[in-house]
């Protein structure tokens, strides 16, 4: 039950994602982007970072990497695929998730903790959470403003594809809890089938108490549980 963590040139959260996967007892292997097969991997993580320097647009050039054909194949087969931050951007650029991630409305990279609401826990990535649970997770991105055409957005909401939404952690902080101007406060979505997740916050930075919050642990524990069911 190995999980492939894809390394694009410029990925920089690859080791962190592998660390978090191992933290919950999953096996993780780093896979260079030129790989042309992912046999033997039960799930894939596209990690954060600046693939191809985020040149042109965040995630735009990584979709041409050879490994993406295999990622697509696994996604279509129903294996869990998680794109974190830059990985989310790559998934939308590659068309594996709808919509796009544009420059934050404040126009700069923002690294801080945000509040997040779990919208559903019937996905392979969120079973460990309660629906409506409030999480504290770090974000670190410059292009995280979720955008989709109105019809697409409506479809997403109808099919309950929004998994995580930015939310106020305390009533007092209610004014500016959305850190980047995402439509409908969207922080993370799944595809229609529910096996491909993209999210801007970094759950892999939140699995150990020493680092401030363990609210990201649920994502990896859920994945582990989901993979065990399959196996």
């Amino acid at each position: 039950m190995k999980v492939a963590v894809i390394q694009f040139p410029g990925s920089n959260c690859d080791q962190d994602a592998a660390w978090a996967l191992k933290w919950v007892g999953l096996e993780a292997e780093l896979i260079w982007h030129t790989a042309t097969h992912l046999e033997g991997f039960a799930a894939v993580v596209l990690p954060g970072g600046f693939s191809y320097g985020d040149y042109l647009r965040a995630g735009a050039l990584a979709k041409f990497s050879p490994v993406m054909a295999e990622v697509r194949r696994l996604a279509e087969r129903g294996n869990p695929v998680i794109g974190i931050c830059n990985g989310f951007q790559v998934l939308t650029e590659a068309g594996l998730l709808p919509g796009a991630l544009l420059a934050n409305t404040n126009l700069h990279f923002t690294c801080k903790e945000v509040g997040l609401r779990v919208e559903r826990n019937d996905t392979p990535f969120t079973q460990a959470y309660r629906p409506g649970e409030l999480l504290r997770l770090p974000i670190a991105h410059g292009e995280g403003r979720y955008y989709a055409d109105p019809e697409v957005l409506e479809g997403l909401e109808e099919r309950r594809q929004v998994v995580f939404r930015y939310a106020a952690l305390t009533p007092a902080a209610s004014a500016d809890y959305n850190p980047n101007g995402s439509l409908n406060d969207i922080a993370g979505i799944v595809n229609a089938r529910g096996n491909v997740l993209g999210l801007m916050p970094h759950p892999e930075r939140a699995v150990e108490a020493a680092l401030g919050t363990t609210d990201g642990l649920g994502v990896f524990e859920s994945l582990k549980a989901a993979l065990e069911v399959v196996a």
Binding site: L56, E93, P98, A100, L102, T105, L107, G181
Partner: protein, 83 residues
């Protein structure tokens, strides 16, 4: 033959362009009467191609590859032979 191609990639009209707004704010602050400022990208490149038509076809294909149809539109702006 060598051609010089210019591809413009811009945000679709309806999409919020915070960078354009920021630039507009600066320009208006300086007293310029600029409105609806939009910021996009321009790519310039040299292309080896047997004919202008073929160069144009290639440039258009690349523009299509590089732009994200969810929020962007592209134009293959100019195409001229290189000395």
């Amino acid at each position: 033959m060598k051609y010089q191609a210019t591809i413009l990639i811009e945000l679709k009209p309806g999409i919020l362009d915070p960078q354009g707004r920021a630039v507009e704010g600066v320009l208006q602050g300086l007293g310029y009467r600029a409105q609806n400022v939009r910021v996009g990208r321009v790519l310039e490149m040299e292309l080896e191609s047997p004919s202008e038509a073929e160069a144009h076809r290639q440039a258009t294909e690349m523009a299509k590859t590089l732009a994200n149809p969810v929020m962007e539109v592209y134009t293959v702006e100019a195409l001229k032979e290189r000395a």
